[in-house]
C-alpha cells in the first residue's frame, strides 16, 4: 500500500485513544490556534507548548520517536521562511559579503524564522496525535459536533470509504503501465518515449481513472437506492458529552488560555 494512503490510525488502548473524539478535536484546534497566536520570540511559552504536546504523545502511547519522525515530513516548507533571516531589519549578527552585495543576518530575522519553524512543528505534532489516536469515523462525528455541514461530512465519509478502493485502482494502472512501456529498474535509465508522450500516457490513465470512478459512483448510487436511500443522511445518535469530558475540555482550554495570557502579558 502506498504510504500516503495508509490509514494513519494506530489502534491502541491509551488514555488518549479512549478520550472522546469531539474533545480531542476541539483541543487540537485550540492548541494550534494558541500556537499561531503566540508572539514571535516568546520562547518560554514555546517550551511549555512543547511540553504539552510531548505529554500528549506520552499519554497516547504512540511513541515520541514515531511522532517526531512523522512531524519532520512537514518541515521542508520552512524553506519558504528562510529569506526572513536576511530581510528582517534589526541588530546584525553576521554580515556575509557576496560579490557586489551583502547579506545581513539579523537577530530579529532569526527570531522570526525560528518562531515560524517552531509553530509549524508544534502544530503538526498535535495534528498527528489526533489522527493516529482517533479512527476516521470518530473524526466525522467530531466534525458534526463542531457544525461542519451534514452534507459535507457525508461526502467525506463516502470519500474515505472509496479512497482505498480507488488507490488500489491507481496502483493497478501504474503496474500495468510499468509492465508494458519498457520501464527500466535502473535509476539512470528513463522509460521510453518523449516527455510529452509520457505525460499524455499518464493523462490517459487519469481519464481512465475518472471514467471508472464515474461509473462506480453511478453503481454505488443505484445500490444505495436499492437499500432505501432517499437523500437523507442518517447516523446513529451520538451520546452527549459526559461531565468528565466537559471537565477535560474545560481544563485543556483553560491551560491554553493561561499560556496565551502569559505570552501576551510578557511579550506585548
Amino acid at each position: 500500500m502506498h504510504i500516503h494512503f495508509a490509514d494513519p490510525y494506530r489502534a491502541g488502548t491509551s488514555v488518549l485513544h479512549e478520550l472522546d473524539a469531539r474533545v480531542k478535536f476541539v483541543l487540537v484546534i485550540a492548541f494550534i490556534l494558541t500556537t499561531a497566536l503566540t508572539p514571535v520570540g516568546a520562547w518560554p511559552v514555546y517550551v511549555l507548548l512543547l511540553s504539552l504536546v510531548l505529554s500528549a504523545t506520552l499519554l497516547s502511547d504512540l511513541g515520541i520517536g514515531h511522532v517526531l519522525k512523522r512531524a519532520s515530513l512537514a518541515l521542508p516548507f520552512v524553506l519558504a521562511a528562510l529569506p526572513l533571516l536576511f530581510t528582517v531589519e534589526g541588530r546584525p549578527l553576521l554580515v556575509i559579503p557576496i560579490a557586489a552585495w551583502t547579506l545581513t543576518f539579523t537577530a530579529e530575522g532569526l527570531a522570526r524564522f525560528a518562531s515560524i519553524a517552531l509553530k509549524s512543528w508544534l502544530s503538526v505534532q498535535a495534528a498527528i496525535i489526533l489522527v493516529e489516536s482517533t479512527p476516521f469515523t470518530q473524526l466525522l462525528i467530531a466534525m458534526r459536533a463542531v457544525k461542519v455541514p451534514r452534507l459535507l461530512v457525508a461526502i467525506f465519509s463516502l470519500m474515505w470509504r472509496y479512497l482505498f478502493v480507488l488507490a488500489d485502482e491507481v496502483l493497478r494502472l501504474l503496474r500495468a503501465r510499468a509492465s508494458r512501456s519498457g520501464h527500466s529498474g535502473e535509476p539512470g535509465k528513463r522509460p521510453g518515449g518523449t516527455l510529452v508522450w509520457r505525460a499524455q500516457v499518464t493523462g490517459g490513465m487519469a481519464g481512465n481513472l475518472f471514467l471508472r470512478s464515474f461509473e462506480r459512483g453511478d453503481r454505488i448510487y443505484v445500490a444505495m437506492l436499492a437499500r432505501g436511500y432517499d437523500g437523507e443522511v442518517r447516523s446513529f445518535a451520538v451520546p452527549p458529552l459526559t461531565v468528565a469530558h466537559w471537565i477535560v475540555l474545560g481544563a485543556g482550554l483553560a491551560v491554553l488560555g493561561l499560556l496565551l495570557a502569559f505570552a501576551y502579558l510578557i511579550w506585548s
Binding site: 495534528a127 498527528i128 493561561l258
Partner: protein
C-alpha cells in the same frame, strides 16, 4: 513519492491568524454556496457522486510520470475536475481532497486549511473554469477548444493558485514578497506544464471513449457565469498584484501594517537579552508574575498527571499497530 505533489499546501504556523480567519470566511462562503448549487443539480446523487469523485481526484494524484533526474510530474486535478464536473462540483471535490489531505495526512495545516481551500479549491477551480470558457468561446465549438482549453486551464490554475499562496505568505509576514512570489510562481510554472499535459491527455482519452461526458456546447450550468466572473477577476487581479508586490515588497508590508497583520513583527517588542526593567511592583508586573507562576504550575500538574497515568497504565498490553 513521500513528498506531496504540490508545494502549495501551506502548513500551520505560516499564515498569520488574521489572514487565516479572512481566508476561512471566504472559503466557508464559497463552499456553502457550492454545496447548495450541487445539491440543486444532483439532488440525492450528490453524496455518492461527490464522495467517489473526490476519492478519484485524491487517488489520481498518485499518477505520475518521470521527468528527468528522479523528478516526476503529478496530476493535481483541479482543472480536470472543473472541466468534467463544472465549477461548483469542482469546488466541492477539491475542498474534500484538500481537507482530507490536511486532516489525515498533514499535507497542509488545520488552521491554514481555510487558506489552502481558498487557493486550491476556490482559486484553482474558478480560474480553470474562466480560462476554459474563454478558450472555448474563442474556439467557437471547434474540437481544438477542448484540448487547448484544458491545457491553458490547467497551467493557469496552478500558477495563479501558487501566486495567491505566495501573497498570503507575504501578507502574513512569513516570507518576503520579492522572494516568495517569483520562487512560488517560477516553480509552479514548471509544475503547471506537467499538469497541463496530463489534463489534455485525460481529455483526449475521454473524448475518444465517452464524448458525452465532455458535453461540448452546454457547459454553462446555472450559476456558471458567477464562477466565470470570479475566476477571471481573481486571475487578472493576482496577475497584476503579484509583479507589483514582488518588485515593491514594502508596499505589501505597508498594507499589512495598516491592516495590523504585522503588529508582532513590526514592533521590536523583544530582545534575546530583555532590557525590560520592572517599573516597581505595578499591578501589571504582578499580574505577569502570577500568570507565569500559575501557567507553570498547571503545566507541571499536567506533567504529573501524565506520569501518574503512565504508571497506572504500564500493565496494559502493548499497542498493536
Amino acid at each position: 513519492m513521500l513528498n506531496s505533489p504540490a508545494y502549495m499546501h501551506v502548513p500551520d504556523g505560516f499564515l498569520s491568524v488574521p489572514v487565516s480567519i479572512v481566508l476561512w470566511v471566504v472559503s466557508i462562503a464559497a463552499v456553502g454556496y457550492a454545496l447548495m448549487r450541487v445539491n440543486k443539480d444532483l439532488g440525492e446523487r450528490q453524496v455518492p457522486m461527490m464522495g467517489v469523485l473526490a476519492a478519484c481526484i485524491f487517488a489520481g494524484q498518485m499518477l505520475n510520470f518521470s521527468v528527468t533526474g528522479g523528478t516526476s510530474g503529478h496530476l493535481l486535478g483541479a482543472a480536470l475536475a472543473t472541466i468534467l464536473l463544472g465549477p461548483w462540483a469542482g469546488v466541492l471535490v477539491l475542498t474534500c481532497v484538500v481537507s482530507v489531505q490536511a486532516l489525515i495526512f498533514q499535507d497542509g495545516g488545520l488552521l491554514a486549511l481555510g487558506g489552502n481551500i481558498f487557493n486550491m479549491a476556490v482559486i484553482g477551480v474558478t480560474v480553470s473554469y474562466a480560462v476554459y470558457r474563454v478558450v472555448q468561446k474563442i474556439a467557437a465549438g471547434r474540437p481544438w477548444g477542448t484540448f487547448v482549453g484544458g491545457l491553458a486551464a490547467a497551467w493557469f490554475s496552478i500558477v495563479i493558485a501558487s501566486l495567491a499562496a505566495a501573497l498570503e505568505l507575504a501578507l502574513s509576514g512569513t516570507s518576503p514578497a520579492n522572494v516568495a512570489v517569483p520562487a512560488m510562481g517560477g516553480i509552479h510554472m514548471l509544475i503547471g506544464i506537467g499538469e497541463a499535459l496530463i489534463t489534455a491527455g485525460a481529455l483526449a482519452f475521454l473524448s475518444a471513449t465517452r464524448r458525452d461526458l465532455l458535453k461540448p456546447g452546454d457547459a454553462t450550468p446555472a450559476g456558471g457565469r458567477l464562477a466565470w466572473v470570479i475566476g477571471l477577476l481573481i486571475a487578472l487581479g493576482l496577475a497584476v498584484i503579484s509583479p507589483i508586490a514582488s518588485s515593491n515588497p514594502d508596499g505589501l508590508e505597508w498594507v499589512a501594517e495598516q491592516l495590523g497583520f504585522l503588529q508582532n513583527a513590526a514592533e521590536p517588542t523583544f530582545t534575546i537579552i530583555p532590557d525590560y526593567v520592572m517599573p516597581g511592583v505595578s499591578s501589571e508586573a504582578l499580574a505577569t508574575i502570577i500568570a507565569g507562576v500559575v501557567g507553570t504550575l498547571i503545566v507541571f500538574g499536567v506533567a504529573l498527571l501524565v506520569a501518574y497515568l503512565r504508571r497506572s497504565h504500564s500493565g496494559a498490553p502493548e499497542q498493536q499497530a
